[in-house]
Each structure stands twice: as structure tokens, then as C-alpha cells.
């Protein structure tokens, strides 16, 4: 599904995650009988449904959750899958869009903040590979950070892809002409997309300005236990 980079208007593509693997992020937050289960992971929507049930069973067994979790987990995952599938048949426009992806995560004791640019047109992109490399480069020893990063990236990409779909739908509804539709992907960008032309024009250089360096640097923090507890308490309070 590689499209030539020169054309700014491309034929509408079928909705999919703009990554090499069409995996979707799933987030679970279930409370049964006072037990709260929060989790997030990546799921392959083409796995058969039996896979889903097996996964739920194993999770409940491994984490020794109450059996009441099982149907809820299955249901939650299925509904998220259904949402994805409902978008799947539709078209989306992807212009020349380079979006900034922001990471601001706390995983156990590690806090990571980062910002980088991601090419939406690159359908060979791999958030998992990126997350693995990032963790390795930063020397993050907690193995749970990697999946969290990959998931955060996927979620943001998913959101942007959904926005593309809705924008494509609006285009069709408006029934604007072809030429007008050209400008839409660019101008109707969610505001976070950057204009390639402006950025990489011959007048400005490709090298980032110095004052922006700090924005695009990954920041890694290790928290002590007390900080972790304090943050958790705060989040729970805000969540309620």
C-alpha cells in the first residue's frame, strides 16, 4: 500500500492502522466485586474469536481473578474490536502527514516523556520495533515499559486514523469537487500535523532549530517508591 510521496492527494485507502501490522490497541478497565483489573495490550484483529476466549481464560487464570471477569473481558475486547471493524470498511485519506507523537507514560517506576514525528504514510512502520529500540537505547530495564510505549504510539495512530476516516466521510457528505478535496487532507489536519512543504522547503533547513531540541528529547525518570505511591493515590482519586 505504498503511495508515491509526491502526490498530496491519494486515492482513499481502506481504513487500517498505518503500521506494518494491522494491530489495534486494546485497553481494559474492569471492576468486578471490588477487584479492579486494568490492562492494555496490542491485539491482532484477525485472530479468530476462539483466540479471544482463550486469552481471556488464561488471563483470568494467570492473574487469579474472579471468574466474573471472564465475560466482561471478552465483552470489552469484542466491543473494541467491533469498533475497529466498523471503521474498517471505510475510506480514509492520508495526505502527506507527519504527525508528532507524544509519550507521557508512567510504568511502575519509570516515567518517560518523549516527542517525535511519525510518518502516517509509512505503512511499514512498526511501533513495536520502535518501542524495543527506544528501551534498549535508553537502557530501560523494566520490561513492561516497551509494551506500554508501543501501545501509546498505536493508540495515537489509531486516533489519527479514525480522524482521517471521519474527515473523509465529511468530504463525501459535503460533496465537494475533486480539487477541493485535495486541500482538505492538508488543511483539515487535526492541527497537529505538519505541512511537509513548509517544513522541508528549500528556505528552511531540515535540521531542527536548537530551541526545539529539548522538546524532542526523551526524558526518562526513575521514581522512588514513595513517589510512585503518591502518584498512584493521586490518579485514583482523580479517576473516581
Amino acid at each position: 500500500m505504498k503511495s508515491p510521496a509526491s502526490a498530496s492527494w491519494k486515492a482513499p485507502l481502506k481504513f487500517r492502522m498505518p503500521t506494518a501490522e494491522n494491530l489495534i490497541p486494546i485497553r481494559l478497565d474492569i471492576e468486578v466485586d471490588g477487584q479492579r483489573y486494568k490492562d492494555a495490550f496490542t491485539w491482532n484483529p484477525y485472530d479468530p474469536d476462539s483466540e479471544l476466549v482463550m486469552f481471556a481464560k488464561r488471563t483470568v487464570k494467570d492473574l487469579k481473578l474472579a471468574p466474573g471477569f471472564l465475560p466482561q473481558i471478552v465483552q470489552s475486547i469484542q466491543s473494541q474490536l467491533a469498533t475497529f471493524q466498523s471503521y474498517e470498511g471505510q475510506d480514509m485519506y492520508v495526505g502527506d502527514k507527519i504527525v508528532p507523537i507524544k509519550l507521557d507514560l508512567r510504568v511502575n517506576h519509570t516515567v518517560i516523556r518523549d516527542q517525535f514525528l511519525w510518518d502516517l504514510n509509512n505503512f511499514d512502520s512498526d511501533p513495536e520495533e520502535f518501542a524495543r529500540t527506544l528501551c534498549k537505547d535508553l537502557g530501560i530495564e523494566d520490561p513492561e515499559v516497551g509494551p506500554a510505549i508501543a501501545l501509546a504510539i498505536r493508540e495515537q495512530l489509531y486516533e489519527i486514523a479514525i480522524q482521517n476516516v471521519t474527515s473523509a466521510r465529511e468530504n463525501r457528505i459535503n460533496k465537494k469537487g475533486r480539487r477541493a478535496a485535495e486541500h482538505f487532507p492538508i488543511s483539515k489536519a487535526s492541527g497537529a500535523a505538519l505541512d511537509l512543504m513548509k517544513l522541508f522547503s528549500f528556505r528552511s533547513s531540515v535540521v531542527r532549530k536548537r530551541k526545539e531540541w529539548d522538546n524532542y528529547k526523551p526524558i526518562l525518570d526513575l521514581l522512588s517508591n514513595e513517589d510512585v505511591d503518591a502518584l498512584e493515590a493521586k490518579e485514583e482519586r482523580s479517576g473516581r
Binding site: G34, Y46, R58, K61, D62, L63, E144, P147, N225, E236
Partner: protein, 459 residues
Amino acid sequence: MAEKSPVKEAASSESVPISNSVQLKPSPQFSAKFTTPTPPNSDVPSTPTNRPPPVDADVIHVPSYSRWFSWDKIDSCESRFLPEFFDGRSPSKGPSLYMYYRNSIIKLFRENPSRKITFTDARRNLVGDVGSIRRVFDFLDHWGLINYSASSALSKPSKDTASNIKSSDSPSLESPSTAAPTPKQSSTSRRFCGACKSLCTIACFVCDKYDSTLCARCYVRGNFRVGLSNADFRRVEISDEANADWSEKETLLLLEATMHYGDDWKKVAQHVGGRTEKDCVAHFVKLPFGEEYLGHPLLDDAESGFETNKRVRLTPLSDASNPIMAQAAFLSALAGVEIAEAAAQAAVNILSKVDDTTASRGDNGSLERNSRQEISSNGDTNQNASERAYADANSQLNKEEEDIGRAITEITEVQMKEIQDKILRFEEMDLLVEKERQQLESMKNLLFIDQLNLSFRRN
């Protein structure tokens, strides 16, 4: 966009018992250097790196049928079982990704080998979609590369040392025969479902594209690999096969049982499980090694005495009060004739090589006798090996004899040469002495002439 750690499952008031090792991190970490995320109260992890492990956690048990495993290589059975990584369908899901999953899961398990890791632990720590991680995890679990602790692995009762050794090897007989033939679709062994690992009894469904077998239940539930559909499977009836074939596992159980119980076929049938006494007896009678020892057609009515004969012959050295030889005989009987022959031949070769360096004929002879004994206990088809060895020893003996003969002749030659030299010298001396005598005689003659002259002149 502050996100709470997606892994946290802390409940409000009730604590969820979480087996996740990451939750137990009591020690505060102020420095930037992170210690590895294993709980400090666990055993010292016996990682393959150079951390000094305690003595008991030093050894990681891996079943012998998983011997192919190596950190850097991908074996063919892995690509067979997990084709999604190897068929190039998706560009990022390649062998390197598979190796990353596999090695991470195994490392995670080996950090604390006394504890079984759950799939949830594994998938939490790996970047990727949980479906593929689950498949890799299941594969490793099935092949015993993770969560394999000695207590849970051996499902057969192991009663004495011989069968202990055998039973640690027995998974090697049964598991490859179940795991390997199911992809290879051999017609003899029992069919095990590729998905739920249960025995296929009535009918099974075979997919030719990926060489996988599913039991009826899995097929109906759609519990097959991603990418297959119902149409790819064809139905294979095995209701008749199940009872007819004896799997290797059952044969092994039968042999063990016969060793323990001898004639008590009721106990043997119990031990084998799933076969009636008559079946056990009939199958035992049909076992191949029996004929080698007997050499005459098997009779059904002479069973009991016959079976004791067979039992004795099964362990021909069992009364040699040498448990090692008994085990060797038992092993070789069960391993098969060709394997035993090859093993014995190799052993003899190496032993003879070792003895060449010591270069002692007596040792050779006795060794040859021992090895001949060992070989002959394994049946007539090993005759060639013993004959060959015998011929080798003979030729070596002959060679030594020749050497000695040659040495003796040389010695005699040297001595004769010495004598000849002496004779020569004596002859020379003789000549010299003869010459002196002649000179003396001539002088005597001269003297006599002088005397005559003198006396003549006086007168």
C-alpha cells in the same frame, strides 16, 4: 497525556493476588542504575550470564526432545509450528521477531526456574500483539523449554533405576512421535490435536496446507491457526486406528511393566492403562526382540514359561550382578538393533583407539573379550561387529609377533657379525705370528751357517 501504567492492577481495598513478579519491588531505587526487575526475595536467578548461581538452581532441565534449542538458531520444527513468523506474510513479523519473543520468554522463565511463568507475565514484558506471543508461549510450553520442572514432567511412575533412566528418555520417544508425526501425518501413531493437545479419538481434521491436525472439537470451535478456514480441513476417520496401533509410549509402559511384574499380566495391563490383558500379552509377544532370542515360532499356549524366557532374554545380563550391563542391555534392546549396533561399534572403536596408546596386548585381548561380550548380548545381527573386532585384534597380534621375530633376527645377525670380526682379527694375528716364526727360522739358519763358517775357518 499522563497515562497510568497499564500494568497496574492494584485493587482498592482487597488485594488481588498477583503472580506478576514486577509487583514485588520493595527496594527503593534512587540511583539511576536499575537493578534487574526480579524480586530480590527470589532465588538468585540462574541466568545464562555470569551471575554466580546457587548450586541447586544451577541446572536448567530441558527435556531431551527439545535438544534442538539454541539461542541463536531457529530449528525447523519451530518454523513448522509457527509459520506466521516465517512465511513472509507480514514484513515486520519475521524470524528475528520470533527469536526475540522466544529468547525473552525463556530468559524470563530461567530467571526463576522454580516458578512457572504464566502467559500474562510473558506478554506483559514483550512488545507485540498478544496473539503471536501466546502462540510462541504455548509452543515453548509444549516443548518443555519453559515451565518444565522435573516433578511435573514425568507422568509415568518410575519404579527402579532402569526405568528411571528410561522414563527420562521416554518423553523423547513419545513426544516427538506425537509432535513430529502429527505434522508429518504418519498413519500409524495416534493423532494428537495440534491446538488443544488432546488425543483424537473418533475423527480428526487434517489441514494439508499447514500440516496440522485438529480434533473434532477444535475444528468445530474454529480453534485453528490464523489464516485458515473451515474449508482447508479434511476429515479423517481414526476410530479404527486408535485401538489397533500401539504407540511407543504404550510399548514402553508395557516393557517396563513386564520387567517389574513379569507374569502378572493383570498388573501389566493396569500399568499400561487402556489395554486389556490379552492385548498386552498379544502385543508383547509380537515385539520384535523376542524373535531374536527365541529363534522359533511363538506359541500362544506356552505363554507363561515362554514369557519368563522372554523376560530373561530381555535382560540377558541381569544375573551378571552388574546393573550397568543390565541397563545397557535393556536400553539396547529397546533402542533397536541398528542403533545398538552402531553404538557398540563406536564404543569399540574408541576403546580400541584408547588402548592403542597404552599398547598392551593383554589389555587389548581382555577388552576385546569384554566388548565382544557386550556386543554379543545384543543379538546376532551384531555378529559382524564382533567378527570385525576379533579380526582386528588378531591382526594386531600377528603384527607383534612379526615385530618380535624381526628383532630376534637382527640380534642374531649382529652377534654373528661380531664373531666374524673376531675371526678375522685372529686370522691376521695368526699370519703375523707365522711370519715371525719364519723370520726366526731364517735367522736360525743364518746362525748355523755362521757357526759352520767359523768352525771351518778354525780348522
